[in-house]
């Protein structure tokens, strides 16, 4: 019996989502495919950076132990990549519903009220994305003249992670308004 109920529940949620998409008119599919395409770029970038980070530190260790030589850039570049991974993760996490929230109170409310609170959160997420774009760009330009000691790269390379992530988040946040809910259910997270 529980099983039937759950199946029915999922069907309605899918049904409502597709109705939402249809109601908003013709461009929804376009938005969705832009969203998916951008997400692929983000994911490939972030995973490459993550892999590169590990390789750089391993190379640094061997280079120091064997050749007694520590490259001046290795720590700085891996930290730079780390900041980028962290900020890309902010945007990605909202899309994949990874960012944890406290459901102690709202979980007990009716589904309709829960949706209201989810929409409230989504507005805040959209606000965050705009703030990241605006302040991030301002900060990045401000830092254009200072350089990082190890590599000589301008510090704006570091801070550019903020507006770039803000851009991704902006697209994701708009898309969130056309999706139901905001938080992953427990079944989705079980594998991790």
């Amino acid at each position: 019996m529980t099983c039937n109920f759950e199946e029915g529940f999922h069907q309605t949620s899918f049904g409502e989502a597709s109705i939402l998409y249809e109601e908003r008119g013709v461009n929804m599919n376009a938005l969705k495919s832009i969203n998916d395409f951008l997400n692929k770029i983000l994911l490939v970038t972030a995973l490459t950076m993550l892999g590169a980070m590990v390789v750089i530190i391993i190379v640094q260790v061997f280079s120091r132990q064997i050749f007694n030589y520590t490259p001046s850039w290795s720590e700085e570049v891996s930290k730079l990549l780390f900041v980028w991974v962290a900020f890309l993760g902010i945007a990605y996490g909202f899309r994949e519903r990874l960012h944890i929230a406290l459901g102690l109170v709202i979980d007990r409310l009716s589904e309709k009220l829960q949706t209201v609170f989810d929409v409230f959160s989504k507005i805040l997420i959209l606000g965050l994305s705009i703030a990241m774009l605006y302040y991030g760009l301002r900060f990045t330009m401000l830092m254009g003249s200072s350089t990082m000691p190890g590599t000589g790269l301008p510090s704006s390379v570091l801070y550019a992670a903020i507006p770039v992530s803000g851009f991704f988040l902006f697209i994701y946040a708009i898309n969130l308004f056309f999706e139901k809910g905001l938080h992953a259910s427990l079944e989705d997270t079980e594998g991790h």
Binding site: L50, V54, K79, F82, Y92, G93, D107, F139, L182, E190
Partner: protein, 426 residues
């Protein structure tokens, strides 16, 4: 007034089910606006929060854990534990606890422990007529060792939040209490198994034993490399973590060879997902924590606590209760980041060692992972065992008792946490 805005908006937004990291940012921004602080300063704090070489160890430990996990480490550790302890009464339950001890040495995540060991062992235990709630409780409570036994990325988060307490000392500090927790839970598990007359484990084929031992030890050698690297001073914690990742990579893809190297994409993806969550929290907490310090909240909390009682034992008890209560409703990483700058000064003012406090903090919050109303490990364990959360929590009762016992020992006998770090002279 500023404090009211900061904490009030934080609590309100938390209740509204806004993601925690976002909550931290918004309450920081609101407070910043009220105080006339340039938002750019907060942005800089956020970047600064993750722009740290010692935090780089976190992705490496997570990736190493994911590689080993994907490569089938859980089955190997289960077999390994089975060879050691499986023959006695309640064999499978004992294997569960011991395998968690080993697993803690590979991954610092209690959640990963419960979901990977639990999904193998809970169905096996149920098949051998163990009660479902007992199977789930043993799995959940033993997995809490993982946050204490090194390498533990939560210790690194604490080290950063505490302003650079030695990671090597913290890792050694967590080892004693982690093993003690494992031991006490094992005794309890055995006592219940004897009382309920649960079966002994299945005998293992003699000819398989050497392979099981070899593969298990090879996996566990990861922790030797990491700890050896840090303690000998050859590597920094971050470098050790990177070398540990390399080792996990070699063992999984060239020795175990259960999965093709192409699985690295999936492994990195899964690591990125965990990182996305943790790093956002770290970045957001940096801005929030900076404001807390600016508004002198830590001093106020410590004055309040010291006003209630000047007895260090009472103050420790109050801190433990605060941390347990917070841990019951919130997740570990944000709490480490928020409570450390507030409570660590209190702890040091009554003469607690920062390593001792860190271990106690992580243990309190770790127990919180296994308790209702919000406990991710409890939820996942109950879901795997297919029992309601209430039933799991009820089965947990004796185990909560064991955990509280260990917690009190760790709180009031500093040597449990400090004798290993002292031994290696950190």
């Amino acid at each position: 007034m500023e404090i009211l805005i900061l904490l009030g908006s934080f609590i309100l937004l938390l209740i509204f089910r806004v993601p925690i990291a976002l909550t931290l940012i918004i309450s920081s921004v609101l407070t910043g606006l009220y105080m006339g602080i340039d938002i750019s300063a907060l942005v800089q704090r956020m970047v600064g929060g993750v722009n740290s070489f010692s935090l780089l160890a976190i992705p490496f430990f997570i990736i190493a854990g994911e590689i080993m996990n994907e490569g089938g480490i859980s089955n190997r550790l289960i077999n390994f534990a089975n060879v050691i302890i499986g023959k006695i009464r309640g064999g499978l339950a004992m294997v569960n606890v011991l395998a968690s001890t080993f697993f803690g040495g590979i991954s610092g995540s209690a959640l990963a422990d419960t979901s990977s060991l639990g999904s193998v062992l809970i169905p096996m235990m149920k098949k051998q007529k163990y009660d479902a709630d007992y199977s789930v409780s043993v799995t959940i409570s033993s997995s809490i060792q993982g946050v204490m036994i090194p390498p533990s990325h939560n210790m690194i988060i604490y080290s950063t939040a505490a302003g650079g307490v030695s990671v090597g000392a913290l890792f050694m500090g967590g080892l004693g209490p982690g093993l003690l927790l494992g031991l006490i839970i094992m005794i309890l598990t055995y006592a219940i198994a004897v009382k309920k007359n649960y079966p002994k484990g299945d005998p293992i084929k003699k000819e398989e034993i050497p392979k099981i031992l070899r593969e298990g030890l090879l996996g566990l050698f990861t922790i030797v490399i990491i700890m050896g690297g840090i303690l000998s001073g050859i590597f920094t914690a971050t470098e050790s973590a990177a070398i540990g990742t390399l080792y996990a990579f070699i063992i999984t893809f060239f020795v175990y060879r259960d999965i093709p190297i192409s699985r690295m994409g999936v492994i990195l993806h899964r690591s990125f997902k965990t990182l996305a969550m943790v790093l956002f929290l770290i970045a957001a907490s940096s801005a929030f924590g900076w404001l807390l310090a600016l508004l002198k909240v830590p001093a106020m909390v410590s004055d309040t606590l010291i006003n209630i009682s000047s007895n260090p034992y009472i103050i420790i008890l109050m801190m433990v209760i605060i941390l347990l209560l917070l841990g019951m409703v919130m997740d570990m990483a944000p709490l480490i980041l928020i409570t450390t700058p507030i409570l660590l000064p209190v702890a040091t003012s009554i003469g607690m060692d920062p390593v001792h406090f860190g271990v106690l903090l992580i243990l309190c919050l770790g127990i919180g992972l296994a308790t209702p109303p919000v406990g991710s490990v409890l939820f996942v364990g109950a879901a795997i065992g297919k029992i309601p959360i209430e039933k799991a929590a009820k089965g947990m009762l004796p185990f909560y008792g064991a955990m509280i016992l260990v917690l009190l020992l760790v709180a009031y006998v500093p040597q449990i946490s400090l004798f290993l770090p002292d031994l290696i002279g950190k």
